[in-house]
Amino acid sequence: MNIEKIIDDTKAYFCIECGICTGSCPISRIDSNFSPRLMVENLLLGEEDDVIRSKKLWSCLTCKACSSRCPASVDFNQFIMRSRIEAKLLGENGTCTHAGTLKAMMELQTTEFFRKSKEWIPENFKVTDRGKFYYFVGCLPFFNIIFKDINVKSIDIAVSALKIFNFFGIEPVISENERCCGHDHYWIGEFDVFKTLAEYNLKTINNSGAEVVFFTCPEGYNMFKEVYPLYFGKLDFECVYLPNFVNEKLRDGDFSFLETEDKVTYQDPCRLGRFMGIYEEPRNLIQNIPGIVFKDMPRNRANSLCCGSSNWINCTSVNKLIQVERLKEAENTGAETLITGCPKCEIHLNCALFDRDNNYNIRIKDITTLIAEKLGGK
């Protein structure tokens, strides 16, 4: 086993057993059996089975709350990811949520005959097949079908993105050959699937002649910007998170927002915040919409709480409690709308809204949808 290599690569040997990771972990707060510190310690002490064979390995949210605070800079996310690869070799597996539908859907995309239908594009929007600007739609059309029973319309995000593009006079490329970004398979240790998906994506984007690729999903953005270059070398195109692009346009004074009336708060997605360090741009956008009262939650920016689930594995009552905690925190700010930057946050928090014990007076909205709704004159 490559246990020594995991320890070397993640610098786990620097661990000073301070326990800040366990103290920061949203899972450990609720499930005291889950402890990042003990996992690192057990692996260092040679008790690999306690880590690799354990079901706890699959509970980690990979939200980076631990490693962003670690005084010894142990990369716990990589530690979990690499341990999961080892665990997969031994036949261990996490429990897939939604009966494995999402995982199967992503694996279906590794086949050659897969074509992502463009049927969701409304007729009055302009898109092209080849051009300078590429829009990476990702999993949004599928989420829209799978999560319609919890009132999540993920496709609204993609349609809003088209509206923003057309507003700024951009005709984005949308390709049928595009695949899932491979984020979930990367983090659950199925490296082969991730690599196949990534190769398809890079081929598609390079063939389209794109110079700039836009994302509305922080997970895809993070994968393209930080993970793909690790395995495929420098990419031939630039990656841009769409709200960041709008923020630049706003700074240049290219357009203005419509007036509205709303009280909002903002949830930092882990991939956007702690992974990519984008905290201020979305806040700046929200605060620039006239009439919006913005108030941050007590835990914000790098201290933000995860939406409670990721990678579509091991969603338990623990994850539900994290989501309920976050929703209450959002409600206590007096906000009526919780803005988030990630389609998955939207899905998970919406799922928690179905909690029958509490009646929430809060809606969840994606930032791209908000921007598209409030786009005003140039």
Partner: protein, 138 residues
């Protein structure tokens, strides 16, 4: 087996259709050799991932054989499956696979000839549509 031959998966509920398949053998009914029958306890246990994985692994058609509505041994298993099939058809449509390749058939009788004729009909339909992979070259 010829490369052009379709590969078809049938998920058969053990309460009616699977008995039908059994009887087809006893009655020496002839039906297409391209089908592979997977017995399930109830069609209610079939998830979209089962169907999607079948297509991923090279199936050209998937038929789900359940019991008649109101006749489910587990009360609502087949009704649940109808919803699952509907959702999966939408997913298939967005993946470049014709939704017609997936079908749910509810069986009322357990005799072999019914089973054989329904299976043959489905196989004929899939044969006309061709392999999933052929769409790539065309």
């Amino acid at each position: 087996m010829n490369k052009k031959d379709p590969e078809i998966i049938i998920f058969a509920c053990e309460w009616t259709p699977y008995i039908g398949a059994d009887n087809a053998g006893v009655e020496m009914q002839q039906y297409s050799p391209f089908v592979r029958i997977i017995r399930v306890i109830c069609t209610g246990q079939i998830t979209p991932s089962n169907i999607l994985t079948a297509f991923k692994n090279g199936a050209d058609g998937v038929m789900i054989a359940g019991c008649e509505e109101g006749d489910c041994h587990y009360i609502v298993g087949n009704e649940k499956c109808i919803k699952v099939v509907e959702e999966t058809k939408q997913l298939l449509k967005f993946s470049g696979i014709e939704p017609e390749r997936l079908e749910i058939k509810l069986f009322t009788e357990v005799d072999g000839s019914t089973f054989a004729s329904i299976v043959n009909k489905f196989v004929m339909k899939i044969r006309k549509m061709g392999k999933v992979q052929t769409e790539v070259s065309s």
